[in-house]
């Protein structure tokens, strides 16, 4: 096999060299002639130090910054974000001990179009002409491993099944209760997501409409109609299953330290049980409060990794 391969290579190299000869001839034709090149190398005659950046430009830091949905004050204090996907990764980074700061942001800033994303620290080692590359949420685990975190891989086969409970049943109920329940939308979603974007009422009305339409479209992806009782009862059953799974252990699946799965659960339990959120339609909150061990799980994480309620 190897001799025939090399014979093949020899056959293909000769046309390649003539092709590369032709391309180099074309390149030489378009390249800058030598005297002009020496002229180009001698300008500019005088180079000053770079211009100062405007005031809104963030100062370069040694600590990575996680961009999440948050208010400016909460971000400065390190308090939990009010968005489940942001809070999941915020809790995860706190659990694995990656020191980071928060910055309040919106979806347009993200490379993927959704928060959160992490901007690594700008140290001299990774200073490149392109600047620091943002780390999106799907690459955060790898980033944490690269920076010395010890992460336990999920070994339990039932992990996938319970993760899907969270991603579908609980998430759908969350979307409905936050965006499509009128009382909750005006008391929770509007001040958090919409008022902070702009002060103009027309802009706010347009964004509210877009947000509710997006939530409805997301719910209609999984079923042809939106049945509120069905959604709440499915979420209740999911909470029950998670409660049984946790049992009397401090962390899920009997691990000694919390894992990404604990952070995912915390993302929803924290937001549903937090009094500051001011939920008006509390059906989902009541369903969760009935499961005592989930409430304690949330308090445990809150005290350990967020400095208490």
């Amino acid at each position: 096999m190897p001799p025939t391969n090399s014979a093949q290579d020899e056959d293909t190299t000769s046309p390649q060299t003539s092709f590369s000869r032709q391309t180099s001839r074309v390149r030489n034709f378009f390249s800058v002639p030598a005297p002009v090149k020496t002229l180009f190398n001698s300008v500019p005659i005088l180079t000053y130090p770079p211009n100062e950046l405007p005031q809104r430009a963030p100062k370069s830091t040694r600590i990575p910054i996680l961009y999440v949905f948050s208010t400016k004050e909460d971000a400065a204090a390190g308090r939990p974000s009010f968005n489940p996907s942001c809070l999941k990764w915020q809790a995860f980074l706190n659990i694995v001990g990656i020191n980071h700061r928060l910055a309040s942001s919106n979806n347009h800033a993200s490379p993927t179009g959704s928060l959160p994303f992490l901007l690594p620290a700008s140290t001299s080692s990774n200073a490149s002409p392109d600047g620091v590359k943002p780390i999106t949420s799907n690459k955060l685990i790898k980033y944490a491993k690269d920076h010395g975190a010890v992460i336990e891989e999920p070994t339990n086969m039932r992990h996938e099944a319970y993760q899907s409970l969270l991603d579908h049943r609980i998430r759908s109920a969350w979307l409905y209760t936050l965006y499509l329940e009128p009382k909750n939308f005006s008391s929770v979603a509007y001040p958090l997501y919409i008022s902070s974007i702009s002060s103009n009422p027309l802009v706010r009305a347009s964004i509210s409409y877009q947000l509710r339409a997006a939530a409805e479209a997301e719910l209609l992806k999984h079923s042809s109609i939106i049945d509120t009782d069905d959604l709440y009862s499915e979420a209740d059953k999911a909470f029950e299953a998670l409660s049984i799974l946790l049992g009397n252990d401090p962390w899920f699946f009997g691990h000694e330290k919390p894992t990404l799965f604990d952070a995912s659960i915390f993302a929803y339990t924290q937001l549903l049980l937090d009094e500051n959120m001011e939920w008006k339609e509390r059906k989902l909150c009541r369903a969760l409060r009935r499961r005592e061990n989930l409430v304690q799980h949330r308090e445990r994480l809150l005290v350990r990794y967020f400095g208490g309620p």
Binding site: P44, R56, H108, P111, L119, D130, S198
Partner: protein
């Protein structure tokens, strides 16, 4: 005044014309007749030449008669210029869709019934001529509005001996026109479709709907409703709505705009134009590139701007693209978000542009040598103000800051090549000043009558961001302005060719940057520029 015929004298001109044709028939009968078979062929051959000659002679005679008629009419008007006349009626023929009230406001002041003193003939013709000029400016009639004057019949009891009737004849333009084509703006090409609906309610109101897509503006939709005020073409009110999405590769993002505004524009007698308007716009910085810098990520998202702006232009150059004489002055001022305006951003933004051209006489060449020297200066400032009725002002956003650099701006630098930069992103600045000096020389073999010129230029600019002086806006603005003179401005010089097409000015320059700041992006070598408004 395109054509003026006085009733009686019109017929006299016609009589003289018909007599010339009788003479020509006699000439034809007197032409020689050849004998034999060659007769037919000789007639055929010479016929063409003689026909041409006859046509030429006829045309020359007509031209000569028209010249003489014009001279006679001028003499007539001249000698009768102080003849007292009263304008008893003005009729506009051919304007089916124009509103009566609209025309009334235009013509009522001219009618003698509304004036105490009678006109002289020359005054009357002047007044009607200026009214016809105003009609032309509305752009609802085809070119060539002709004016006729006649005396009303003396048997009409309502007429006085000095009465004249004025007839204006115009042809209305089509009310709806649909245009598609390509457009050239400053360093951008686009394709557009436009619907223009003229004279909607009979008072020269127009509605313009425009949809375009271009190299930089991914999509833009605009609707403008425009109407003159009080039948005066120089005073216009317009209402517009806009939705566009523009790529800004020099700052790694795309800006989506949705907004509406109302504007009032007027022109003074000396030719300067003013425009005052209110605009409310929702801006969205979105579609960030993968390598966008943290500063741009910080400014991503939505903001609403509510502002009042004023534009003043005085253009006294003899040519918009290769001026040899005159000057241009333009100021644009905008105040946003202050007091009752609300919105998300608040600032006072002011930009001034001046340019002048002088011809350079060359010893040894008589008259206009075609060589001219033009110089231009642009400066601008963005002064942050407290939003609404709050007390403290916020720093500026990337949507509002100025950009400097480019083939139509400071040549020799890339678009947005000057000013503060984070990585490869041009963040823009709050205060800038730029100047340029160009020498335009006609090409030696081609001459000065073509729109082609050789250009030698040197230009410089400086774009700075406001310094942080602990919230004291006045100190930060004054210290930033002082920094403009700190060291040499970034400059480039070179030479190239300029072509002034009626649509735009095209330039191809070879330039080298001489002074730069680290991070600023210069373009060494050839640079091509297309635009309307060059520095």
């Amino acid at each position: 005044m395109s054509a003026v015929f006085l009733g009686r004298f019109g017929t006299w001109v016609n009589n003289t014309k018909s007599s010339s044709r009788e003479c020509d028939d006699e000439l034809e009968m007197a032409s020689p007749v050849d004998q034999g078979d060659d007769l037919f062929e000789s007639l055929r051959k010479t016929d063409e030449k003689k026909l041409e000659e006859k046509v030429k002679a006829l045309a020359e005679k007509e031209a000569a008669y028209n010249e003489k008629a014009k001279e006679r009419l001028m003499d007539l008007i001249g000698s009768n210029s102080t003849l007292p006349v009263t304008i008893s009626s003005i009729r506009l023929i051919g304007a089916k869709h124009t509103r009566r009230s609209f025309l009334d406001r235009l013509f009522n002041p001219i009618l003698s019934a509304n004036r105490d003193a009678p006109y002289t003939l020359s005054e009357a013709l002047e007044q009607v001529g200026s009214a016809a000029d105003r009609l032309r400016k509305f752009d609802i009639y085809h070119e060539g509005i002709s004016m006729f004057i006649d005396r009303p019949s003396p048997t009409d009891p309502s007429s006085t001996p000095t009465d004249i009737d004025v007839y204006l004849q115009a042809r209305e333009r089509g009310r709806i026109s649909l245009k598609t084509g390509t457009d050239l703006g400053n360093v951008e090409g686009s394709a557009y479709g436009e619907l223009h609906w003229r004279n909607i309610f009979g008072g020269a109101e127009s509605l313009n709907l425009n949809a375009s897509a271009g190299t930089r503006t991914r999509s833009a939709y605009q609707a403008t409703f425009d109407t003159p005020i009080l039948s005066d073409p120089d005073k216009r009110v317009s209402i517009d709505a806009l939705s566009s999405s523009t790529l800004k590769p020099w700052a790694s993002h795309e800006e989506a705009l949705k907004g509406a505004g109302a504007k009032y524009s007027w022109a003074t007698k000396s030719g300067t134009t003013h425009q005052v308007g209110y605009t409310g716009i929702w801006r969205q910085v979105t579609g960030l590139a993968a390598n966008a810098s943290p500063s741009v990520r910080n400014d991503a998202g939505d903001s609403a701007k509510s502002s009042i702006s004023h534009t003043w232009v005085a253009d006294r150059r003899n040519h918009p693209f290769i001026p040899t004489r005159g000057y241009l002055m333009k100021t644009v001022s905008e105040i946003a978000g202050w007091g009752p305006l609300q919105g998300d951003v608040a600032f006072w933004k002011s930009e001034i542009e001046t340019s002048g051209a002088i011809p350079i006489p060359i010893p040894g060449i008589k008259g206009d040598s075609g060589v001219s020297f033009t110089a231009g200066l642009r400066a601008g400032m963005l002064y942050p103000l407290p939003l609404g009725f709050t007390a403290s002002s916020q720093p500026s956003r990337i949507n509002d800051r100025f950009q400097l650099g480019g083939p139509t701006d400071v040549r020799g630098f890339k678009i947005g090549g000057l000013g503060p930069r984070d990585g490869t992103d041009a963040l823009g600045g709050d205060i800038f000043a730029a100047g340029s000096a160009n020498l335009l020389i006609p090409f030696p073999r081609v001459g000065k009558d073509t729109p082609l010129r050789l250009q030698l230029f040197a230009n410089a600019g400086r774009l700075l961001a406001l310094k942080d002086r602990g919230g004291n806006t006045q100190r930060s603005v004054s210290s930033t302005i002082a920094q403009l003179g700190d060291g040499l401005p970034s400059m480039a010089a070179g030479f190239g060719a300029v072509y002034a097409h009626p649509v735009a000015r095209f330039e191809l320059n070879f330039s080298l940057p001489l002074v730069m700041r680290r991070g600023e992006e210069a373009r060494k070598g050839l640079q091509f520029g297309v635009g309307i408004n060059f520095l």
